[in-house]
């Protein structure tokens, strides 16, 4: 079966404007390349025009002519293309323009893509620079933190005279972010199944648990960034002795208390 035979029935439907979907797309593609089928399409439309004659021989009402003439009088005609048929070079059919239109669309699309690519590259460079800076800051913070909390970090407490070192705790707290770092030294050993618990004592309200810890053999301990609510102003910090699992509220008197300053 040749291409023309294959499209024969479809051409008739296309001439009547009732071909749809993939069949229509395939035929229109074929028409772009096939002058023979374009000619046959014109002839089928001519056949359809014959069929139109079968519509009958009705005459429009007389007022229709007056209406048209009035409309024509109101609307001056653009100069000055003759209506009477004049044979002239055939206009490029729509499928002839499709290639140019597609090429123009591709060009516009390519320009837009190049522009977008440049914008995205600049954005990518900025993001990469920011990430590199943040990586560096993060690395420094990690090194600082690991130095403070490393098991092999040795703590030196300097005191006046020959007094023995006293238990000591240092809390660094940022209320706006709810961040707390606590370091303790020379803490007394605990009874079995007991632990120290750090408390944030707010201006108003009940103490807030701020971490459970057990000191090492040298009495040192650290609590880093325990979960705390944000924006709580601390009046003091306190340490109590609690069961190993910790308590929701202090169950014993504080062994250490400290205010800011």
């Amino acid at each position: 079966m040749t291409a023309h035979e294959q499209f024969g029935d479809d051409l008739a439907l296309y001439a009547l404007g009732t071909l749809e979907g993939d069949e229509r797309v395939a035929l229109e593609r074929h028409l772009q390349e096939c002058a023979g089928c374009r000619k046959e399409l014109a002839r089928l439309r001519g056949d359809a025009a014959l069929l139109a004659m079968a519509a009958g021989a009705s005459r429009p009402p007389a007022r229709s002519r007056e209406r048209l003439m009035a409309a024509v009088a109101r609307e001056p005609r653009r100069e000055a293309q003759p209506v009477v048929p004049i044979r002239r070079a055939r206009a490029t059919p729509w499928w002839g323009w499709m290639g140019w239109a597609a090429a123009a669309a591709c060009l516009v699309f390519a320009v837009v893509l190049v522009h977008q690519n440049r914008v995205l590259q600049r954005r990518l460079f900025r993001v990469e620079a920011r990430i590199t800076g943040q990586d560096k800051q993060l690395q420094e913070a990690k090194e600082l933190l690991s130095s403070l909390t490393a098991p092999d970090a040795e703590k030196y407490v300097l005191t006046a005279g020959n007094k023995p070192p006293q238990p000591q705790g240092r809390a660094i707290y940022v209320a706006s972010s709810g961040t707390l770092v606590f370091i303790a030294s020379h803490m007394p050993a605990l009874p079995p199944q007991k632990a120290y618990e750090l408390w944030l004592i707010p201006d108003t309200g009940t103490p807030i648990p701020a971490g459970v810890f057990k000191p090492d053999g040298q009495g040192s301990a650290a609590v880093v960034k325990p979960p705390l609510p944000v924006g709580i102003t601390a009046k003091t910090f306190a340490i109590t002795v609690e069961p190993e699992a910790g308590s929701d509220a202090p169950t014993s008197h504080p062994v250490m208390v400290g205010s800011a300053g």
């Binding site: 404007g17 359809a48 025009a49 139109a52 079968a54 519509a55 009705s58 429009p60 005609r77 293309q81």
Partner: protein
């Protein structure tokens, strides 16, 4: 424009009336088509076919669009119609009408029906197949061979 109206208004109005079945709507289509030609006479040139045949085809297309309440699907300036002679002129019209009706009368009823449903109702071949219970391929072939029968009758 008066001359064009006198010569071709009958065929334009008849086609629109047959498709739409409403005199007011048919009159509107007639006004629309002829005013379009008045405003942009270059949309038609003789290489697109005789004016009468061309008007018949674009009127039918516009009326089908109106019937299906859709926007015009085909650009008027794209429609090329190849038919000789200019049968839509009033002188030949009634003679041509008689001949065409004669040809349609000799067609098998199913073929004529498929052709008319497609042309005057704008039904697609799947819609016709669903309506008549016939295979898609049969409907397609009937429509094409119906058009070719008309061509043959006028080429003799």
């Amino acid at each position: 424009m008066a001359g064009i109206y006198d010569r071709y208004s009958g065929v334009v109005y008849s086609v629109a009336l047959r498709v739409l079945g409403d005199t007011g709507a048919a009159e509107d289509i007639l006004q629309e088509i002829l005013m379009q030609l008045w405003r942009n006479p270059e949309i038609y040139d003789a290489s697109r076919g005789s004016l009468g045949a061309w008007l018949a085809v674009i009127t039918r297309n516009r009326a089908i669009d109106a019937l299906r309440k859709r926007r015009p699907e085909t650009d008027i300036s794209d429609v090329v119609v190849s038919v000789e002679p200019d049968l839509a002129g009033s002188a030949d019209w009634s003679r041509a009408l008689g001949k065409i009706r004669g040809v349609l009368g000799t067609m098998p009823a199913a073929q004529r029906s498929a052709l008319e449903m497609s042309f005057f109702e704008g039904l697609t071949h799947p819609e016709i197949a669903e309506k008549t219970g016939e295979p898609l391929g049969t409907v397609k072939t009937r429509i094409r061979s119906g058009l070719l029968t008309l061509r043959k009758a006028f080429s003799l």
